[in-house]
Symmetry: C2
Subunit: 503 residues, 2 copies
């Protein structure tokens, strides 16, 4: 406890804001999973209203005055890291919010909710043209948001968008990282494909795989990882995500009855996100410092579980008998070597969420380039499908046959999320770095994983990542857990070991 009345009052305000955010989380989850389609307009109004009310809570002279007074109080007090971190996060939230007029927040929330719903139909019908007017409105409001924040925070507009998802991240930090990948991968990928061609082609187990069986298997592995179904759910949505509210973490997937492998890894990915949310410091529930740190660290947790762990031989040794039992699978397709080759198969493809971890960064680089061009006005939305297809040709050597497999595949832009995609690749890098540190700290980690004992891994993550909330910056968190700030070479070493090594 600190002795600052100003800070205590701020805590009350931000607590309220967090609970409105939780309500928005449930409304968003409902919209994406079970809401009747005809209710979309009403939902958009509810979301817009709560969004602007949350905005008004923070953008309030009492908050800015309170922050100033609390900083003075803290200067003369022996305040701990958590309270200092909390005040820092309050100041950041205030700065991000105060840059935007309330009517812009409300208009953006409404437009994003409407466009996200339209996107479902447009994607299903491969009809980009039908989405274009609404998407223009979304981009228009994203631009206004970027400009307003850029001016208030003295940042470039795209950096001002990045700041919301990942504090302190700028294009001048991303560019060298992405350049490193863009120079590494084109040389690396052919080597991977060549080695892969020298090995047996993996055989896909033959379905159909009943959705109920897939769900039961997914739930079993989620529970093995510590997912608490008494404080969370697994459901179906068009686009897999992890959402819900504090203490009510809800992940989604989509099932393909011909192929269980897609959904299963998708569920494990979202479980990584869910473990982070569920493991946040309960002492700081509803306070800014109790939040997840940012989207890059969030994605590091999903990719650590999915890419680093679940596609590894130790995990597959444990999981394979469970897969076989779920689907009564027998025969060569269920050989662990085959399943491992299947789950580490590298193949340039159209769909980002189905991409292997070698080609995935190229999907991100494509979006990073295109969204910057859209934001600056260099790329008109009418030209997006063509630009997308050209970039796919350049980066991955393939051309989508339609927009469903092209620029309509992701919900992010229709939902107003520009500046989000780069965090996926930052997360992939951080995941490799965290996992290497966990193995270093626990030499028997993978032996435990191979027997289904996932508790040591989850415990390490709780201690070093989840339970830290937003107490430290991302680089501090990485340094404390792994000994150094983000180092992309660790990710590249992981790729080389897995795809060119002997494992």
């Amino acid at each position: 406890m600190t002795g600052s009345a100003a800070y205590a009052s701020l805590q009350e305000t931000f607590r309220r804001g967090a609970l409105v955010g939780d309500a928005l989380g449930i409304l968003g989850w409902d919209q994406a999973t079970i809401m009747p389609e005809g209710s979309a307009d009403g939902r958009a109004e509810q979301i817009a209203t709560l969004s602007v009310m949350r905005h008004e809570l923070v953008v309030n002279p009492e908050v800015s005055d309170g922050i100033a007074r609390a900083k003075q109080d803290f200067a003369t007090q022996d305040t701990g890291d958590w309270d200092r971190g909390n005040l820092r996060e309050m100041e950041r939230a205030y700065a991000l919010a105060a840059a935007l007029p309330g009517d812009l927040v409300e208009a953006a929330a409404r437009a994003n909710a409407v466009c996200e719903l339209q996107w479902r139909g447009a994607r299903a019908e491969n009809d980009y043209a039908s989405l274009l007017p609404t998407l223009r409105e979304v981009l228009n409001l994203v631009r206004q948001t970027a400009d307003a924040r850029a001016e208030a925070l003295s940042l470039a507009p795209y950096d001002a968008l990045l700041e919301e998802y990942e504090a302190g991240t700028r294009t001048d930090r991303l560019d060298p990282l992405f350049d490193r990948l863009a120079s590494f991968l084109p040389e690396f990928l052919p080597q991977v494909l060549e080695r892969q061609d020298s090995q047996p082609t993996p055989v896909r187990p033959e379905g159909p795989f009943a959705i109920a069986d897939q769900r039961a298997l997914a739930a079993e592995l989620m529970q093995a990882l510590g997912f608490d179904f008494d404080r969370g759910r697994l459901d179906i949505s068009h686009h897999p995500f992890c959402g819900g509210a504090t203490g009510d973490v809800r992940i989604t997937t989509r099932y393909n009855e011909d192929d269980f492998t897609e959904s299963l890894m998708g569920v494990l990915h979202e479980t990584g996100h869910a473990l982070y949310e569920g493991g946040l410091p309960s002492d700081w529930q509803f306070q800014p410092v109790g939040n997840a740190l940012g989207m890059a660290v969030h994605e590091s947790q999903s990719l650590l579980i999915e890419m680093q762990v679940s596609r590894s031989r130790p995990f597959l040794n444990y999981a394979l008998p469970r897969m076989q039992s779920a689907f009564t699978g027998t025969g060569g397709a269920w050989d662990v070597d085959n399943i491992y080759r299947l789950y580490t198969r590298v193949e340039p493809g159209f769909i980002r969420v189905d991409a292997d971890e070698v080609t995935y960064p190229l999907h991100v680089i494509l979006r990073y380039r295109l969204e910057r061009a859209m934001l600056s006005g260099d790329l008109d939305l009418a030209d997006l499908p063509g630009a997308w297809n050209d970039a796919m040709g350049d980066l991955l050597g393939i051309t989508p046959p339609d927009d469903r497999l092209g620029c309509l595949q992701d919900v992010h832009w229709p939902a107003g999320s520009f500046g989000y995609f780069p965090t996926y690749t930052l997360g992939a890098m951080a995941a490799a770095q965290f996992y290497r540190a966990a193995r270093r700290d626990m030499p028997d980690l993978e032996a435990n994983i191979a027997t289904g004992n996932l508790a040591p891994l989850v415990s390490w993550l709780r201690t070093h990542v989840h339970g830290q909330g937003s107490c430290h910056t991302a680089d501090e968190l990485l340094s404390r857990a792994t000994g150094e700030p983000l180092n992309p070479e660790i990710f590249l070493e992981h790729l080389k070991a897995r795809y060119l090594g002997n494992s």
Copy 2:
């Protein structure tokens, strides 16, 4: 459009309040249907926070000043009924809200949400003692609410609670109505039972009835009544209800695999509520005058569909073949006379929601008496189970074997709803009155119902009830639709015709 700037600003404020209310509707629905149990505390905090924020929206000097100015403006303008009704409802909402301090609203919302969840477990385990401490807290806050409103509105405390659910209803109006029933029913009931004993005992169709089949039949009949599944849902909950949000009307039921008849009538009952919500005037969406009028009229719509229509011979003529087809039912139990006798069977029983319409008012009178005694302090909560059982003996001649079939059966008191039960019986009376008027206006109404053409009935309700929102008072609405204010004799005539007549 009116020329009042003050009124326009009030409309904005109340629109926002309505959308927060819609968000609360979805959170409440989620809590009652699919929320993981461990998430109850967080949900209670979300609900408490949104409730107090909605309260603060209304309880604001700008609102009271605005109402005063708008009234002046209206006095000199040619303002229509709807705007006048809207301003009247705003004033009523302000008066109800302003009587309560925000911390009481927040505390009550939180306590009700917590107690409602605990009630589920307590009921399942027949453990009233475990509920008692939380229920005491709920009643304590209900008392504070009643006292605060009583003082502000110059009403007796119980009348102040009634006012929230049914504007203008007072105990001195309820008492003669309930006295009339309490004198009529004890003479009437034995006559009904005697006549019933002279007829063949109805046979219950033999199950099991798969839940999926029950749901499909329910959905078919809902759709025949005009329920729009593109703007609504049917789900499962512990206690059936109609909830959700504007344009997103969600009803629930619970299924018994041994007996499809309970759930089916329950669904039709909730469909009556849902038709009301779905038929409210869309021009006045999100405005107070666009709301349902009160809980008595709401209940009149559910009981009109369930009791007046769905348990009538014409409807059963239409529905029986659908029931048979849903469950491939054949044999004597599926004879229409048998099904009619089953659905109009009178039998004193323990459970209110399963009660026939003859004994139902006695369940309400019991609760009306007990909740007034609890509120005044004449009945201590520790003595509720005994008082309940005594009253059941007096009124219905039966004694519940346990509290699950006694005072734990209903969610209302744990959820903080005191003063609500009387609206069920007001609704039953109004339902009989509306339905008699509809038959008077459309002599071929029942012939249409017998062929499954429910459109004329629903259209009549849309015109005379649903589409009227809160434009008029309940007595005005009844008078305009039926020619007179609430007249309990029409309900008694209905009972006599159905249970002692030749139909």
